[in-house]
């Protein structure tokens, strides 16, 4: 069984009367890319700040690498790289100097700067002032800074926020490769399901401060409830015909829908419909999109 990297126990943070994070039990295992998903204002950043000990929980506990965070702050932080919301950068310094500032604090070897610049492909722009960087480059510099200390755990809060599609793609590929190449565990937050869908192996969905789903991305997809859709002439008659055969089906949007999607069954149903003289024009498996599942979990009408 993989080791638990992050574990929060009943983690709660209140701002006055408002509960920002409510009894959150997060579990991130070693080697996972954990997608931390939720609408804006759901409590993602507050949670992440508590994981980094930037703000203190009202109650509950954070355990990282199986140690209590408050008592072992320095030891734990030494193994974490982080990028919280917008990247921090000193605009009046070059990319290289920005990393050197952090390298001195971490007492990392000098050649590590070249390594991380190489990983995020900023080597060529290393000697330009960061205020001249594009947003994507700044974001990549932020990731380089997070990687500088060779962390075992990387915490990235909205790393693709504000990037163009090419930039998003680039960061995504970068993140996907890190666990494979460097054995890191990654927590990445986003308010975009499609983002998490393409990167994460585990998903935690937070809504109004509460964890409403936490499992593998496959489990989330399984909840998609695949159905068989048959487009056919005179669907009403076809449904009656199927009912007589003992097959449950219903009409929706000028097509008939069956709960089972087994290949053989689909073929059999197709044959019997055709033999009965119906004209079947389409036979397809339809899944709820993750977006639909997400909306179902968080309640309708919440924007992503």
């Amino acid at each position: 069984m993989a080791e638990m990297i992050i574990q929060t126990l009943q983690l709660t943070r209140k701002y006055g009367d408002r509960i920002s994070v409510n009894r959150l039990n997060m579990q991130v295992k070693e080697g996972e890319i954990y997608g931390f998903l939720g609408p804006n204002g759901a409590g993602k950043t507050t949670t992440i700040r508590m994981l980094l000990n930037l703000i203190k929980p009202t109650s509950g506990e954070v355990r990282i690498f199986n140690k209590e965070l408050k008592q072992n702050r320095l030891e734990i932080l030494r193994q974490i790289g982080s990028l919280v919301e917008s990247p921090s950068y000193y605009g009046h310094l070059t990319g290289y100097e920005n990393l050197e500032v952090i390298r001195r604090l971490l007492e990392a070897p000098v050649n590590r700067i070249h390594q991380v610049l190489d990983i995020v492909r900023l080597t060529e722009s290393a000697n330009r002032l960061v205020k001249e960087y594009s947003l994507g480059m700044k974001q990549r510099l932020g990731i380089a800074a997070a990687l500088l200390g060779m962390p075992k755990l990387l915490i990235l809060d909205e790393p693709t926020n504000g990037l163009d599609p090419a930039g998003i793609q680039e960061i995504r590929e970068l993140i996907k490769n890190l666990p494979k190449e460097y054995g890191m565990t990654i927590l990445v937050s986003s308010h975009l399901l499609s983002e998490i869908d393409q990167m994460a192996t585990q998903v935690g969905i937070i809504h109004k401060g509460k964890m409403i789903f936490q499992n593998s991305i496959e489990t989330l997809r399984e909840q998609s409830g695949a159905r068989l859709k048959i487009v056919i002439d005179s669907p009403q008659y076809a449904v009656q015909f199927l009912h007589k055969q003992g097959i449950s089906a219903k009409v929706e949007d000028e097509a008939i829908w069956l709960p089972q999607t087994n290949h053989d069954q689909a073929a059999d149903i197709n044959i019997s419909l055709i033999q009965a003289g119906f004209r079947v024009s389409r036979l397809e498996e339809v899944k709820l999109s993750l977006e639909d599942i997400f909306l179902e979990l968080t309640g309708k009408g919440e924007s992503l």
């Binding site: 930037l54 320095l74 030891e75 974490i80 919280v84 921090s88 000193y90 605009g91 009046h92 604090l105």
Partner: protein, 251 residues
């Protein structure tokens, strides 16, 4: 711990206006004094003839400039140091690194002190040059110039501690700069009250090498006392500020 923080902070300060402020404050102070001495050249010739002491006679007005320049310089220095982090949104990143928060604070404070001491040193040298420019006949009184420049800065340690805390804790630097400038002026008046002269903002004015008395400029008997008070209270305030900073939530 503190060593790596200091070298890291040093690099952060590169290309900021911190160095400009550090140099500009003593430079402008000496320049103002030079202008004043040139404008009232005849007065000073007469005055020096009367007192027979070129340097002390000239230091009189200088004190009036410095008593304002020192705290305002400190205010801006602290503001630039803190603002480098505010502007870069660097706090959340710096403080997510494996560093002692108290150490982070002490490092910033140390740089504010270093810059103040550099200013004091430049002022000492600048005044010596000023004397040479105006053709002072007496030899340069290094000890007096040294005391006169470093004295007010050392006594301002509580002001450094307070201004740094303000600038670190409140993002908007207009606030700390306003407080720093206003309190520099208030400090002049605090000096006249028997009780209020013991408040830290009154220390700079009581920490020059000379004070005005009925007999003209006489050596300041309180200089050492004020320096020690400044050091003591400054360190206490540094400690309180650091503790407060360490327990704050970072956004």
């Amino acid at each position: 711990m503190i060593g790596k923080l200091l070298t890291s902070d040093q690099l952060k300060m590169k290309r900021t206006s911190l160095w400009l402020v550090t140099i500009l404050v003593p430079f402008v102070t000496v320049l103002l004094k030079l202008a004043e001495s040139l404008i009232r050249y005849d007065y000073y010739v007469k005055e020096v003839n009367k007192t027979g002491d070129w340097w002390t006679t000239h230091l009189n007005i200088l004190i009036g400039i410095m008593v304002f320049a020192v705290p305002v310089g400190i205010t801006i220095t602290c503001s630039v140091i803190a603002n480098t982090e505010h502007q870069s949104k660097g706090w959340k990143h710096t403080l997510a690194l494996p560093l002692s928060r108290t150490g982070v604070y002490v490092s910033k404070f140390t740089w504010a002190v270093i810059c103040s001491l550099i200013s004091a040193l430049l002022l000492t040298v600048g005044l010596a040059l000023f004397g040479l420019c105006l053709g002072a006949k007496d030899p340069i009184p290094w000890i007096i110039l040294f005391k006169n420049s470093f004295g007010p800065y050392i006594s301002s340690l509580p002001i450094i501690a307070f201004q740094l805390w303000l600038s670190m804790v409140i993002r908007n630097q207009a606030f700390s700069i306003t407080i720093g400038t206003v309190s520099a002026m208030v400090g002049l008046f605090l000096n006249f009250g028997d009780f209020t002269r013991w408040l830290p903002w009154a220390y700079p004015l009581q920490s020059f090498a000379f004070i005005m008395s009925e007999k003209g400029m006489v050596p300041n008997p309180d200089l050492l006392l004020m320096n020690l008070l400044g050091l003591g209270i400054g360190i206490v305030l540094l400690f309180i500020g650091a503790k407060d900073f360490a327990r704050r939530d970072i956004y």
